[in-house]
Subunit: 433 residues, 2 copies
């Protein structure tokens, strides 16, 4: 039986999981692949910590180049993370003609266009299923299953930390800070949770999926990103009254010759499946013109789910190696000469529905003034709840609008905030149906 | 650009959808595949009906062999359905070295083992994603995405007709016969709905998935099958009171060195995602040891969703043709010499929880007699509701049991039905958590 040699860079959580899977399921994988995957070399700066791996000691090295340059190694697995050192490893591996599997969403989202161009020249495969939504086969689904479909929209809950925090606030009524602290204690959130809770990690994933779905270049910089730090229990409860849940959603939509690309807290109807995706679970929906909605749910992070995605990519590339069928599926779903100049729709041009919460003085005529201003911007109110119980003669006033343009909505909000009867800033949450 | 020539057998709903997609999305498909798919010939007994297709008239024939035997054709799409003629077309195509794409679950479930053996000898690809759950990429997910996973269970709502009927009964409180009649009128159910409502179609799909997941031969005959014709509104309402929905579920589980394979109405907790999969939508869950649950939802039938699955298989095989990489993924997920003799666990050995409804005389001591008998078979009652409102001094008595062996449950039910205080037959619905 043929043996395919794997070199692994980075022995963090996912790297350890990959070695564990390749060692532990060697026979199972061979029974499906018809070849053996061998962990030939593993590089990490720390090779002394006992990770419970059965691999012989001489396979470990602290020198990444010793792995990349090894002429016996067929595929490099890059699990270093970050952009700088990982990128130089990537470039060196491509230069050496090594195929690469990665879970590094930041690297692909920021430098994918350049790296894929280099890889194409060297006829090198790059696989990155693990970079988006863990073990959910969303990249394979877009690149392969939907080959005959014009995709009109995609959306996803793609950050487990955010979904875990929002779920616990919703279900237990605890505050954001408290849940975040607990999430950090049990390892569900990083010590520095910025990338997750500010929506940046989700934006990385959306940049990748938009490119695959719409045949556009990876375009991270133009994505509108708003995290979950300002989502309050109060807004979650008001949303419930209107029949909605609040989730951090990534949205990619074909509209008016461009692509919407936005990440923000989003109100979703209770009977939509996204509303039932809780805790650290991820979900992605893709709408094809023929398939209609294809909705995929699974673990979006964690040692073994992510390792599983890495191993499925390793098996895919190995099947190509066995059959000498490199670059069988284009990196970004479309042939490189068919990737278009499609651009991201500026956020101010996006049209959607809104939930708005104001704090208003409890006086007659408040609603008439607010609806007057909204009316000037052609925004109509679908429903409104004026609540009791604010402090010192103030009441929360919550409303859902009809479809409105973001630019108009922002202008209207500014005008309303300037009213004498309105206190502080308004809270705005976008709605998807 | 390379052109790959496709021959299509059968111009029913799906066949028409496939031609429509290949013609309508020719450029889109080429932009992803890097080759053109051309519908070279189409065979159907009726080629006079106007199906709104743009294909030139001379591509149509009434002679299936004229398609199969055409030396220019690379891939045959079998959409004839049924087992007899379709099988002979399959065999002829394999003999001629043609790759085949099919949506024919009955053929694969009944004759797959034999057909794949023949195909392997001739080095012919056979793809059948469209045969299970329409556009949901469940076959690709099991065969490719889960390559490193030991699969411990799978379950699916895989018949749109049944799910549509159960949803409407549940949501609108109408009776089975009435919903079925309406479903037939709008084309959601066949004139002869037996294959669907008796669970046979679902069993075909389970036979295929079990083989892929567990590396066993396709084993249709040993699947336990119970349809939805006996599900009553009364049981649906009682299930709701206990916090459950009733769905026709296919279940395939590794247990005790064998595989459970059963299709039957199943009570599912309300907060399980399956409970929210309604109308004609399908869903499949697969549990891998590394991924945990991977849950996929989408249209399980219909012209374009099924056509989409056929086209994705055509693109897959075309990528193999372009790269001369035939049989890149084994037909049944495992290399043919690694398919085991794993067998189906006899239904009487299956262990699960049960909902049981008896009609009992409204007398003291009824519950004590019933629980006494259940106790003799080591079955304990988890909860029990005795209802008012039966006819002539009779009451419905519903209960949920703890885990019990099917054989014990059936024996206990027989004994209980023989009691003088019990009228008629008991209703038994199995529960999955």
């Amino acid at each position: 039986m043929k043996t395919i040699k794997i070199g692994i860079l980075g022995l963090g959580t996912v790297g350890t999981g990959v070695v564990r899977m390749l060692e532990g399921e060697k026979d199972l994988i061979a029974s499906r692949l018809g070849a053996e995957l061998e962990v030939a070399k593993v590089a990490d700066l720390d090779i002394d910590t006992d990770r419970g791996l059965t691999l012989p000691k001489d396979r470990f090295t602290t020198d990444a180049n010793a792995v990349i340059d090894d002429p016996d190694i067929d595929i490099i697995v890059e699990l270093i993370g970050g952009e700088t050192f990982a990128k130089s490893c990537f470039e060196r591996a491509i230069e050496k003609g090594k195929h690469i599997v990665t879970a590094n969403k930041a690297l692909i989202a920021s430098h994918g266009n350049e790296l894929f161009r280099m890889a194409a020249e060297k006829e090198v495969d790059i696989a990155f299923e693990a970079s988006v939504a863990g073990c959910i086969p969303i990249i394979k689904t877009i690149r392969e299953t939907l080959a005959g479909n014009t995709i009109s929209s995609l959306a996803g809950i793609m950050n487990g930390t955010c979904n875990y925090i929002l779920t616990r606030i919703t279900q237990e009524g605890v505050g954001f800070e408290e849940v975040l602290k607990q999430a950090q204690e049990i390892g569900f959130a990083e010590a520095d949770p910025t990338l997750d809770i500010e929506g940046i990690d989700t934006a990385h994933k959306l940049a990748i999926l938009n490119s695959l779905a719409y045949g556009m270049k990876i375009n991270l910089d133009d994505i509108y990103v708003e995290g979950i730090t300002k989502v309050t229990l109060e807004d979650i409860r008001f949303a419930e009254e209107f029949g909605y849940r609040i989730k951090l959603l990534a949205i990619g939509k074909r509209t008016n010759g461009a692509v919407e690309a936005r990440v923000h807290p989003t109100m979703i109807p209770m009977d939509n499946l996204f509303a039932s995706v809780n805790h650290s679970v991820n979900a992605v929906n893709v709408h094809g013109h023929a398939t209609e909605d294809v909705f995929l749910v699974g673990q979006g992070a964690g040692m073994m789910p992510t390792a599983s995605a890495v191993v499925s990519d390793l098996v895919d590339i190995s099947r190509n190696l066995i059959n000498q069928a490199g670059q069988r599926v284009p990196y970004l779903s479309f042939q490189s000469d068919r990737i278009s100049d499609l651009s991201v729709l500026p956020m101010e041009e996006v049209t959607t529905r809104y939930y708005v919460r104001f704090t208003a003085k409890d006086k007659p005529g408040v609603l008439s003034q607010i609806s007057g201003i909204l009316g000037q911007y052609n925004i109509s109110i679908r429903s409104v709840h004026q609540k009791d119980g604010g402090d010192e003669g103030c009441v929360p006033l919550v409303m859902l609008t009809s479809m409105a343009r973001e630019k108009d909505m922002q202008s209207a909000i500014s005008d309303i905030e300037a009213l004498e009867i309105i206190l502080g800033k308004a809270t705005l949450i976008r709605i998807e149906e």
